[in-house]
Structures are given as C-alpha cells and as structure tokens.
Amino acid sequence: MASVTYDDVTKEFDETVAVDGLDLEIADGEFLVLVGPSGCGKSTALRMLAGLEDVSRGQLLIGDRPVNHVPPAERDVAMVFQSYALYPHMTVYDNLAFGLRNKKVPKGEIDQRVRNAAQILDMESLIKRKPKQLSGGQRQRVALGRAIVREPAAFLMDEPLSNLDAALRVQTRAEILKLQQRLGTTTIYVTHDQIEAMTMGDRIAVLRGGVLQQVGKPEELYTRPRNVFVARFIGSPAMNVVEVESTSDNGRDMLTSKGFEIDLPEGMLAKVSTDGADGLTVGFRPEHLELSGADDGSGRARIPAVVDVVEYLGDEQLVHLHAGEVPLMAKLSVDAGRVEIGKHVTLALPLGKLHLFDRKTELSATSAGP
C-alpha cells in the first residue's frame, strides 16, 4: 500500500493536451474518484499511473518512488478495466492466478490467494469456468478478483461499473466500497458518473479538458463548488445557473435577471469579489427550491414561474419551468401537492443556498452558503 502523487503531470498526444499540469496527492488507503465528462483526461491520468501511457512532463510517484520510467509490470498496481479485459482463453482460476504466476509466486501460495480472493468475492463455484460462460456481473467480479489477488500498492479502476445494468451497478458500488474499506488499499476510481463519484469517493477530483477543477470531499464539492462547471457537474439534476445584473441602491442590494429579481441581505454584495464590470452568474440547486407559501419570511427569494413539464418520480417531482425568459428546474416534494403544466407558481429559495460566480471567469465569487 502506498500513496500516489501527481506532480504537475502533463500528457500530450501530438497536438492535443489530454492532461494539463495535474497536481494531485492521494493518501495511503484513500478512495479517490476522478470524475469528469468524457474526454476530460481522467482515463489518461489513470493510464499514466498504470504505466500504459508515457508521461510527457511532470512526475508521478507511487509512495516515494518516481515511476515515470518504470514499466507497468513493476509498478505494483492493479487495474480494473471497463471492458473487464478478462483473458478469454483462461479459466477464472487462471485469470486470477495470471499476475501471481508472472511474479513467480510459489504454486501453493498462488492457490491459497486465488481461493481466498474467490471466497471474498463469493465466486468459488465459478472458478473453473471461462469468461464466456459468465454473466456481466460475474465477469466484473473476476476483474475485481484479479486485482485484489495481487495485493497491490494501489487499485486503479477505469469505469468498472459502466457495463452493468442499473440495479447491479448500485449493488456492486456498495461491494467495491466495502471491499476497499476492508482491504484499505489506495484506490483511484475513474468515472463519468457524478453519483458514483459522490457515493464512493473519500475525495473527488473533477477534471475538465485535462485541467483539474477542484478536489475535495463530496460535501465540499456540493456546497462550495469552486466554479460554474463543478457546480453544474456535481448534483442531479444540475444546478440552475442564471446570468444576473447586480445593482446596489440605497443600501438595497439586488440581482436582476431576465425573469426575476432577488433581494440580497444588506452588505452581501460588498463581500462579492469580482471586477464588477462583467457581471455575475447566480446558481441555485433545483432541490433547494420550494413552492412558496403565504408565510414566507425574509431570507428567501421569491421567483414567479410557469410550469412547462413535470417528471413525476413518486416521492418527488422534477419540474421544468420558466421565469420570464429564464428556464429553471426545480425538484419539489409531492407533499405540497402535484404541480400542473401551464400553472403559474411562485418558488421560494433560501438565500443561504445561493451561489454567486464571476460571469467571465466562472469562478465562485462568494459562496453565500454556510
């Protein structure tokens, strides 16, 4: 087991920069999720760590050992692939034993470790089968087993759940977490799915276009996103982001969009650190919107809107609305009654849940939240 360090790591393919100056430290035993849309460089970052891609610039360390020029076979990391990459001509047993045999581990020990791994993953009965005879979930287990049997310094997982159906994915997600907690092996997990990222990671690193956007605990990313991209990427449905003009008149601070106005608490705008000239972007999450009652006190903005579409989810409803020209999304409880298409409603928004961003740099201007 070991920590992993990306020190200003860059990867260039001919003209394009896949990973741009990545700085990331992953502690021993940590479960770090690398998340981002497809093509953001997360897989490349992982493959560099595995030794499957060269590092163009910067340094990669596993523990204290620089591994830039160490061949994959000697890095002591185990990788789980999206396609599982099981060796089709070998039985499950041989698939698990492959890595150990390469290292010339004694036969008896191989047998013991393979059986142990099979037991952990509850697949002792499958051990003589070939990958072709296994279901998707079983193959996924074998792929995991192949990693744990090696007892490596780190697990690298490249979207290991993407090929599973939804139910199995939730189940396996929990299993991987349990397994990682039990083994305590440093794990770097790549996914494009923010739900996986939020539920699994000790910390999450959000990548976009090869550039690291933010690293932090899930709740940090949710409550204090550093920029508009992270704000919209984390959380489902995505945060409402609206361009606003800010005005300050007689100590009364106001945000004006093309559909609604928000009165801000006194002095709040003064704390906002922008160049001012470019204006602001305001963000608020759909789940923080409520249907407004009569007794709304201060500390809440009121947004009148018209309902366009309702997606009924049972305990909740996803409501697509528009306020003036501004399209919005709200996740409302069904307790207050179901909303109907075409109806005028008023939404209430706790001001504490507002996020303000500089419109030009898209960086968080201040997080109004706690």
């Binding site: 493959r47 595995a50 030794g51 499957l52 061949p71 994959p72 076979a73 000697e74 890095r75 990391v77 185990a78 990788m79 692939f81 999206q82 396609s83 990459a85 060796y87 089709p88 001509h89 492959f98 890595g99 390469n102 290292k103 192949r146 090696r150 690298l156």
Partner: protein, 409 residues
C-alpha cells in the same frame, strides 16, 4: 453440378482408373505403378523432399509471419513495410522462381546472394594478392593452400630467392619495379620475391631484366623447428631483409594468405542445397500472406487485454507468449493449414528455380507427377498413380480443415 461433374469428378475417376494401366494405357497392370512410386529412387527422393517441405515450410512461414506481424504492429511505417513484404504475393510463383534462380547463381558477379556472401567473406578474410601464383622453380616447395617454402634452409649471410610465376599482369601491384638482387650481409638473410617470367623466354630462378619485384608480400622466417621467428614485407623491387639473426639454419617462406582464392560462391542450385534454396524462395513469397492474415488477427485482439496483462505484471515476452499467441491460435491454425495444403501441391517454383540437372534432387510429388506424365516419359499410368498418392495425402488435411470450418460455423 454439371461443371463440377465435368471438371472434377470425371477427371478424378479417370485418373484413378488410369493409374492401374501401363504407359500406353492398353494393359491392366494392377498395382505395378504404385509399386514403382514407392520403389524408384527418384520418386522416393520426391516423397522425402515433400516430407521436408511439409515439416519445415508451414511452421517457418507461420512463425515468420507472426514475428513480422508483432514487430510491425507498433512501427511508424508499418503499412509500407507490410506492403513491401506482401509484394511477392503479387508475382506469379513461376516468375518469382525465375528471379530466385538468377539470384542463386553461383558466380558472385551474377548471383545477388553469393555476391553478398562474397562481400562479407572477402571483407573478413581478404583474398591473397597473388591468388594464381605458383613457384617458378622446384626450389620452392608447398602449395597455394599451405604457402611456399624454400626447400634448402638458409643461413644468415645468404640470399633467399623466391621466384613466382603464373601471375596475371593485372595482379602485379602498380608500385612494382624492376626486381633487384640485394647484397648479402653477414648476420642477416636478405632476398627477393619477384615475378620470374619474362615475355619471350628467360631463365627461371634467375633475376633478369624486365622481371618485376612483387611488393607488399609477407615473407616469413622460421627456425628449423618450424616456429615463426620473424616476418617482413617486400619492397617495390621485391627485396626483403631479416637483420640481426643468430647463426643457424632458417626456412624462408611465403604464407598461404598471399595465395588465398577469393570467395567463389556457394552452389545454391547444386544437388545438396537445392531444396533449402527453393524453400527459402517459397518462404519469401508466402511470408507476406502469413503476415497480412496474422496482422489482421492481431488487430482484432482487444487492446485492453494486453494492457491488463501488462499491469498484471507480465513482461512484453510474457504478454506475447501467454496472451497474444493463444488468442491468435485460430488465425495461426488457418495460416498453418493453408500452407500445409499449398506445400503438398508445391510444383511450379521448383520447376522454375531448379535447373534441369538437379530437378531430380529437388523433386516433390507434384513435380514428379508432372515429369512422369508430361516431362518426356509420357507415362500417364505412373503419373496417375502419383496423382492418386498425392490426393490421398491431402485428403486428411482437407477433412481436418472442413471439420474445423464447420465447428466455427
């Protein structure tokens, strides 16, 4: 169905029937033709050669194709390289045979292969300055292989005369001058090596006018036990000198290196090397086929599998042996079996490469059949019998292939 009947079934039956008749086709001779197949020495050679072909070529072509496919997989100009290797497939076997026959020519001036070998050979072991020289008198004993030595031992103060003849004018160095007889010196052996030949006569063993010295020759001095005690080089007028010698008897000699023949070329098309030579030509043609098929198979192996094996601690060699080759096994089998069938039918390239004189040594069954039927003997009975034998040899392989094909469907 009709065309299969006309072009395949009828000739097959007719051939089978014909194989029981004699040369003229009138007398039924039972199994005499078959007895000939398995007793006549040329036909036994053919069977033996065919066994060599079957044993060597499919494995050789498949492994060369595999190695080339793997090596060119990650090379920048892989496509250009593969096209170059594949090119011979576009040439007819006969034309390729003609090309190789020329390349295999024994004389290094004509045959490209011997020219290459000669170039390397002569660079490592340079030919002597005077490959054709012989002693002009019986005073020198020995042969060009051993070098020449003066029969009578020489003592310090005496002269050693090394007369050589049989030297072509163009072999004499440009710097050569009129040979001179050096002055004898006490305590030293002096001498001259010269071209002891004067157009229009002259006395052998005597240095005369118009006879040139042989510069640059290495002269050795040996003691009576035959140990080498000194070497020196001759000057422009052919003279040499071993100074400061202890008294006693010495032998003066010119080493064999001076008379070494240049490399004369291997006789690829001779009876001994003809089969390996034809196999090499045939492999050159078919390696491209194997390369292309195997490269396609290689491209079909998912990258992830190889990457997984690498992170699983496998070295490149382990990846190749334990992942790549097993996954390529079906493709390798196709190539191998195809080559097996091709090789059993091999015919035209031998006809093209092997000169008439060694065709009997290069013979294979298909060629023997052709030679028996159309090669002047016109014994269609024997030819048919050979054809039937060949057919029976191909059948099991075909059956194997068909079964495999069915299983894959």
């Amino acid at each position: 169905m009709i065309s299969v009947g006309i072009w395949i079934v009828y000739p097959a039956i007719r051939t089978f029937a014909r194989s029981f008749f004699d040369r003229s086709g009138t007398d039924f001779v039972w199994f005499d033709n078959y007895r000939t197949v398995f007793t006549s020495s040329t036909l036994l050679t053919a069977i033996k050669n065919n066994a060599i072909w079957v044993g060597v070529v499919p494995a050789l072509v498949t492994s060369i194709g595999l190695v080339l496919a793997v090596l060119t997989e990650r090379v920048r100009f892989a496509v250009a390289f593969r096209i170059a290797i594949f090119m011979p497939m576009a040439i007819s076997l006969f034309a390729a045979g003609v090309i190789w026959r020329i390349e295999y020519d024994q004389a290094p001036e004509r045959g490209a292969i011997n020219a290459v070998i000669a170039g390397v050979h002569d660079a490592i072991v340079p030919p002597g300055a005077l490959p054709s020289a012989l002693p002009s008198t019986t005073a020198l004993a020995g042969s060009p292989r051993q070098g020449f030595v003066l029969r009578t031992p020489t003592e310090p103060g005496e002269l050693a005369l090394l007369g050589l003849t049989g030297i072509l004018p163009q072999d004499v160095a440009r710097s050569a001058k009129q040979a001179t007889l050096p002055q004898p010196q006490p305590g030293a052996i002096a001498g001259v090596a010269w071209r002891d030949f004067r157009p229009g006569g002259g006395t052998s063993g005597v240095v005369e006018r118009e006879e040139l010295g042989l510069p640059g020759l290495t002269v050795e001095l040996r003691d009576r036990a035959g140990r080498k005690v000194g070497t020196t080089s001759t000057g422009a007028n052919g003279t040499f000198r071993f100074p400061k010698l202890e008294s006693g008897e010495y032998e003066v000699a010119i080493g064999a290196a001076s008379f070494r023949q240049p490399f004369g070329g291997l006789s690829w098309l001779g009876p001994k090397l003809i089969t390996p030579a034809v196999i090499a030509a045939y492999t050159w043609i078919w390696a491209g086929f194997a390369l292309v098929i195997i490269a396609a198979g290689l491209a079909a192996i998912p990258r992830d599998l190889l990457d997984a094996a690498r992170t699983d601690g496998a070295t490149e060699w382990q990846v190749f042996r334990r992942i790549t080759v097993p996954l390529l096994a079906p493709v390798l089998t196709v190539v191998f079996v195809t080559m097996l069938i091709n090789v059993l039918k091999v015919f035209d390239i031998i006809l093209a490469v092997a000169p008439d004189s060694v065709q009997a040594d290069a013979n294979v069954i298909a060629l023997a059949m052709w030679r028996a039927s159309f090669g002047g003997v016109n014994d269609f009975g024997l030819g048919s019998a050979i054809a039937v034998v060949l057919f029976l040899m191909v059948v099991p392989i075909l059956a194997l292939n068909v079964r495999r094909f069915r299983r894959e469907l």
